[in-house]
């Protein structure tokens, strides 16, 4: 897991909002994004950007980097949807280029489809990032516990979460130790250093596992992982009103779009 991402979730300006309020809001937008038309989906994306960057205070470079990262994956696959190949492009195609004795062309239908996929993915990515960046994982798990999901699942998620950072720390400390002794000076050395790192990581993980099992027992492990967390959240009317009013506007916008466009 990306540690910067995690750090932001713990320090963003919306942390004091109840996670349920944020989750419910994001979920409502996610569902809306599935049914509305592209202009409304773009509005959702922009609105989420306002929440994430301006309200929560996530650095915009970091945020755009994440969004562009995900969207660039998508764009490459969109190319395959937009571009068609035939010996002769149909008359209603928007553009066409000759290639290998045939023609590559872009049809209106394919373009529309691509735009729909693009704007829908953008909107869902934005709502997902809003949650990831403003709700710390541990608090997310508390909400999950109140859902009908089996507790064993949330317990496992919490333990994995702790382990991931332990592993990351071990890997990092080995890598630093290797670097400080010149283990990555040449390509050949780097290769053998990496293989050493992986072997060490596996061994140390096994050891860590044994140690933590002892630690958990010593703390009175009782067949369950249960924790208590304080909930010093403050429901915000200002944010609550904006999210409700915004959702209503989005739906009105969609109705107008269907009637007039």
């Amino acid at each position: 897991m990306n540690t910067q991402l995690d750090a932001l979730a713990y320090s963003n300006r919306l942390r004091s909002l109840p996670p349920k309020q944020k989750l419910f809001f994001a979920l409502a937008l996610l569902v809306t994004a599935m049914f509305v038309h592209p202009p409304i989906q773009l509005a959702i994306s922009l609105w989420m950007l306002v929440w994430t960057v301006f309200y929560a205070g996530i650095p915009w470079r970091f945020y755009l980097g994440m969004v562009l990262g995900v969207m660039s994956f998508l764009l490459t696959s969109l190319v395959a949807i937009i571009g068609n190949f035939a010996s002769l492009a149909p008359a209603d195609s928007l553009w066409s280029w000759p290639l290998w004795g045939g023609q590559v062309y872009v049809s209106m239908g394919a373009l529309q489809q691509a735009i729909e996929i693009f704007s829908r993915s953008l909107a869902s990515t934005a709502t997902l990032f809003f949650i990831i960046l403003t709700v710390p994982f541990a608090e997310l798990a508390v909400v999950l516990e109140q859902t009908p999901l089996p507790t064993i699942l949330t317990e496992l998620l919490l333990l994995c979460y702790r382990f991931i950072f332990l592993l990351a720390e071990v890997a990092q400390s080995i890598a630093i130790a290797q670097q400080s002794r010149g283990g990555y000076r040449t390509r050949r050395l780097a290769l053998s250093s990496v293989s050493l790192l992986i072997r060490q990581l596996i061994q140390r993980t096994a050891l860590r596992y044994q140690q933590i099992a002892l630690g958990i027992k010593a703390r009175g492990f009782n067949q369950e992982f249960r924790f208590w967390q304080s909930q010093p959240y403050k429901y915000s009317w200002r944010y609550g009103l904006e999210s409700i009013a915004g959702c209503i506007l989005l739906i009105i916008g969609e109705v107008f779009y269907r009637i007039y466009v």
């Binding site: 713990y10 541990a138 332990l166 027992k217 010593a218 009175g220 009782n222 967390q229």
Partner: protein, 276 residues
């Protein structure tokens, strides 16, 4: 209640695949209500002794007793035993399990099935006692090693055990936090809790402990009152455990300037014991 809280009789323990026993024919008795220190060279078996005392390892020989009752290795006995004996590991990572500071401190309390309001109260109190309130909602992987150490100690202390075993509690702590920890340990000891601390810091032992156990190669070498033990250690220079600075200074001073015969155990007492 007997005068001795924890007792080991002829305990042997060899790690799986190890050639030598880590603990060999170990016998000692820990007086109840004392501030006890466990000292000995690296690898002499201090951490192993703690793991045995918490019922985490099963001795291949010998018996471990709490209040005169021998430890049995069924789940119920172990659970009750571990409620009474708290263990703070040498490496804090080993016993931190929850995502945030406050939730980690609550872990042991949740295991005891206490009511939620009591858990909340105790966690808040412990956070305050250990100066952790500001870190309460921070994730553990954003803490420094010294802060993690404090969290791991707090998570055990909040359970109010009768006996607390602390493995190198002052490791990684700065001067201020060491002082705070000592104050906290003193107030815990005052409330009647027995403390056993493994450490290499002899200056700390000299000032703090009132009973000392010395281990060598898996067995008990010495046990007794602090001054008596250092008296004997001085006669055993081959052991190379070293001696507390205050003790050495006191023994170098000419008798003529000493007002008292008992070695002082703090700088202030040293000052009060001399005439200038």
């Amino acid at each position: 209640m007997s005068d001795y809280l924890l007792e080991m009789q002829g305990v042997d323990y060899t790690y799986p695949m190890a050639e030598q026993a880590a603990v060999k024919n170990l016998s000692f008795r820990l007086p109840a209500g004392r501030k006890t220190a466990l000292i000995g060279q690296n690898g002499c078996g201090k951490s192993t002794l703690f793991l045995l005392a918490d019922g985490l390892f099963r001795p291949q020989q010998g018996e471990i007793l709490l209040d005169g009752v021998p430890l049995k290795f069924d789940r119920q006995t172990l659970n009750r035993w571990r409620q009474r004996v708290g263990l703070v590991f040498q490496d804090p990572e080993q016993q931190l399990v929850a995502p945030t500071v406050e939730s980690d401190i609550s872990y042991g309390l949740c295991n005891q099935n206490l009511p939620t309001t009591e858990i909340a109260d105790r966690v808040q109190q412990t956070l305050a006692d250990f100066q952790l309130t500001e870190l309460a909602r921070r994730p553990l992987h954003h803490l420094s090693l010294g802060q993690k150490k404090r969290v791991s100690i707090a998570g055990v202390m909040t359970l109010r055990p009768d006996l607390v075993l602390l493995d190198e509690p002052t490791a990684y702590l700065d001067a201020l936090q060491t002082k705070n920890l000592l104050l906290e340990l003193d107030s815990i000891a005052q409330s009647g809790t027995t403390l056993l601390i493994a450490t290499h810091d002899l200056d700390f032992v000299y000032q703090w402990a009132d009973w000392i156990l010395v281990m060598q190669q898996g067995s008990l070498l010495l046990e007794g009152e602090t001054l008596a033990v250092f008296e004997q250690l001085q006669a055993l220079p081959d052991l190379e455990l070293g001696l507390p600075l205050l003790w050495q200074v006191w023994n170098m001073l000419p008798p003529a300037i000493k007002l008292k015969t008992v070695p002082p155990r703090s700088i202030k007492k040293l000052h009060d014991s001399l005439h200038f």
